[in-house]
Symmetry: C2
Subunit: 137 residues, 2 copies
């Protein structure tokens, strides 16, 4: 099994700090959040601006990595499913994908409209949404 | 800067083996490919089956990680842009996002309809497409 080193490029700043009460998807009541970037990657933000839709990729550092089957959405009444057929944070590489809209940009941070990641979650990448991409969460 | 360890869960098997001639997006002529999984993660595939749409997350190991500005699509005539406002593979964490449809599943591998990643690219996660997600590439 090959391994690779991910490096955080920033952190989520959010009022959400309880993993158990956090919404599972952004459209399930997630609050606005700030994405606070490390100074050394700021040049990578380029011409991103308020109104743009982006894909925020995070590292869900509190997830379990030794789990291959879960009950979807944590509901025990539902049959266990393979993690790769769920959006559970628990999986060998706990990568979070979040579609969000930028509402404001300051020098080293940007505000987004809704994000279900909890406070302190490492950010590992930002990508623009391509024409035709809808509702990536 | 915090770092995290990614572990490959499998590899792409594809007729594409030249990074310079590979299409930039799946709908730009990408061929079908196999996703070959490590034996120890097979339980995570659960009930995924032919016809399902998935998000394949890869590690674009041949990308440059020290680049923060690029010419979009490698076209020198276009002004340089911050990498986080492009889908360039070159970025601090070279994560590839590919939307694909499963066409066949065998014991440790699945065929997908079109994938722009080259042969040997490490796979790091698979997620189901949620209702409403369209054309994630």
């Amino acid at each position: 099994m090959a391994t690779f080193e991910l490096r955080s490029i920033g952190r989520v700043k959010s009022a959400l700090d309880d993993i158990d009460s956090a919404p599972r998807q952004a459209d399930e009541g997630a609050p606005p959040a700030w994405l606070v970037f490390d100074q050394e990657v700021i040049a990578g933000l380029g011409t991103l601006r308020a109104g743009d839709e982006i894909i925020v990729i995070t590292w869900l550092q509190r997830a379990r990595r030794d789990v291959l089957r879960v009950h979807p959405r944590g509901e025990i009444a539902r049959p266990a499913e393979g993690v790769f057929n769920t959006r559970s944070p628990h999986r060998p590489n706990p990568i979070g994908l979040h579609r969000a809209r930028i509402t404001q940009i300051e020098s080293t941070r940007m505000a987004v409209s809704a994000l279900e990641a909890i406070n302190g979650t490492p950010i590992i990448d930002i990508k623009p949404v391509l024409a035709g991409e809808i509702e990536l969460r």
